[in-house]
């Protein structure tokens, strides 16, 4: 039964109990990195290891997006030479990874968090400031899994 639940169903059936916000970790500078510390409100809901793994993968994806190397330099030079018109035809590397992150979050929600009554919001919707985790009341989700 948990497999047939999707995000819409959760919204309609369950009420929002609370929201947890995982803030940015600025200790490494301005690169996009979220704190991997496990929030205490999720203790009863999700496995600590699982959550930390999700956050670590997310951080790695953002690091990949923002990596400055030969490839980004080439992309920048090419863009400058074409007066940035090249981006009418192709996506920037950053945008490609952002899409990858969106897919990752959707997949994590569907496979892991929705059955537990949680919902991860893509940080891009919050301006890359926080990872918002919505905790739904454990009403309609069956106890048997």
């Amino acid at each position: 039964m948990a497999n047939t639940h999707n995000m819409q169903d959760l919204h309609h059936q369950a009420a929002v109990a609370s929201k947890v916000y995982v803030q940015r970790d600025y200790n490494s500078g301005t690169i996009c990195r979220f704190q991997t510390k496990f929030p205490s409100e999720l203790e009863s809901r999700v496995d600590r290891q699982q959550f930390e793994e999700t956050m670590q993968t997310l951080n790695n994806l953002y690091a990949e997006a923002e990596k400055i190397g030969g490839k980004s330099y080439l992309e920048g030079c090419l863009a400058c030479m074409t007066a940035y018109t090249i981006f009418l035809c192709m996506e920037t590397h950053y945008e490609k990874v952002l899409k990858k992150i969106a897919r990752f979050i959707k997949e994590q929600n569907e496979k892991i968090y929705a059955p537990l009554g949680l919902l991860l919001t893509d940080p891009i919707e919050r301006g890359l400031r926080v990872v918002e985790i919505t905790i739904f009341e454990d009403r309609s989700i069956g106890s048997g899994r």
């Binding site: 600025y26 200790n27 490494s28 400055i68 920048g76 940035y84």
Partner: protein
């Protein structure tokens, strides 16, 4: 009560920006000076192409108008890109997020007794060995990321805030800094190009007809000071890029050794090439505009946060450069035929370091510690 309505993000944008072309173009409220910039560039270039180029093309080489044309198109392209794109505006906190932050701050602060004014909120974080203070923005209800600043003209927090440029009609921040820089750089090439060839034209003509009549035939007299001020600005920004600083940080002397002996810039990569690469070839994304087609949840009941201090206090906390910068960011571009305005670029104004003054109570919070 949550009503789901498919309004675009830019339609309910709380800042003071203006949107055109269905949210694709984002500019500041005051755009008059931007049109002036456009007119100045087009008029001067137009006069150059109309009056000097025929002579130069026939007497020297037709490559001159071609190169001029390419430069002109590039300058306009960069100007439009710098003016119309999102500088890196940080979306304001949702009501739930703001409430959560308030709870965390109160938890760290402790209960307030009678007559105790709630202090401005500050978090400290250590980046690359340097302590950086993150200030709480009362308008946007967020702790500003490092290098972000609130622009009082646009009423937004902008990431990697450089300055608000009225000539470009927009803030210059993380997402449009490279366009601004390329605009200024290419404009300095264009002005030098026009200036040089106008002089050449006058000289060549004066060989035949005499100096004064040559001047009469060439109506474009590009102001000498304007060329220098634009070149000065591009030199200044080249210095900023190579040291990975923003105009904001440079003006406030954030990383200057005058503040503290062991002060250094924690964001610099150490070498000039990497700094340039990071500033010019780093991430490029139109966060706000590209996601404008996503549906947005409108909350019809906002949770009231009664602990906020009055707006006058929030004004103190906004980094003061943003309101005084128009006079600083205005140097260049005046190459109208008869003007002789001097360069206004002043990069060494001393601004008071944290305007919050005696009300500051530091909330030191390392990333790993959490009040329980």
């Amino acid at each position: 009560i949550i009503t789901r309505t498919h309004r675009r993000k830019w339609q309910i944008f709380p800042g003071r920006n203006r949107f055109y072309c269905n949210g694709r173009v984002m500019m500041a409220r005051q755009t008059g000076v931007f049109y002036l910039t456009l007119v100045l560039i087009m008029v001067t270039s137009g006069l150059f192409f109309a009056f000097d180029c025929p002579f130069l093309a026939s007497n020297l080489t037709p490559a001159i108008p071609v190169i001029g044309g390419v430069l002109f198109v590039f300058v306009l392209g960069m100007l439009f890109r710098a003016s119309f794109s999102d500088p890196g505006v940080l979306p304001r906190a949702t009501p739930d997020e703001a409430a959560d932050l308030e709870r965390q701050i109160d938890g760290a602060n402790g209960p307030s007794g009678p007559g105790y004014r709630p202090p401005p909120r500050i978090r400290e974080v250590v980046i690359n060995g340097q302590t950086v203070k993150l200030k709480y923005c009362f308008t946007c209800k967020i702790f500003r990321p490092p290098r972000a600043s609130h622009c009082s003209l646009c009423d937004n927090c902008v990431e990697r805030f450089d300055h608000h440029c009225p000539w470009v009609g927009n803030c210059v921040g993380k997402r449009n800094y490279r366009f601004f820089y390329l605009f200024v750089l290419s404009l300095s090439f264009l002005t030098v190009f026009i200036f040089a060839f106008v002089i050449t034209h006058v000289i060549l003509r004066s060989n035949r007809t005499g100096f004064l009549s040559a001047l009469k035939d060439s109506p474009v007299v590009v102001c000498f000071f304007s060329v220098w001020s634009i070149m000065g600005l591009s030199g200044f920004h080249t210095y900023l890029i190579s040291s990975n600083q923003t105009t904001n940080e440079d003006i406030k002397g954030s990383w200057s050794t005058k503040r503290a002996k062991d002060n250094y810039n924690p964001y610099s990569y150490g070498n000039i090439l990497t700094n340039c690469c990071a500033a010019l070839c780093g991430i490029l994304d139109n966060l706000f505009i590209s996601s404008s087609s996503l549906p947005f949840l409108l909350f019809s009941s906002f949770s009231s946060i009664s602990l906020l201090p009055p707006p006058s206090l929030s004004f103190l906390l906004h980094l003061s450069p943003s309101s005084s910068l128009p006079s600083i960011s205005l140097p260049f571009l005046l190459f109208s035929p008869s003007s002789s305005l001097p360069c206004l670029l002043s990069s060494s104004s001393s601004l008071p370091p944290g305007a919050a003054g005696s009300l500051v109570v530091r909330i030191c919070r390392s990333a790993t510690e959490q009040g329980s």
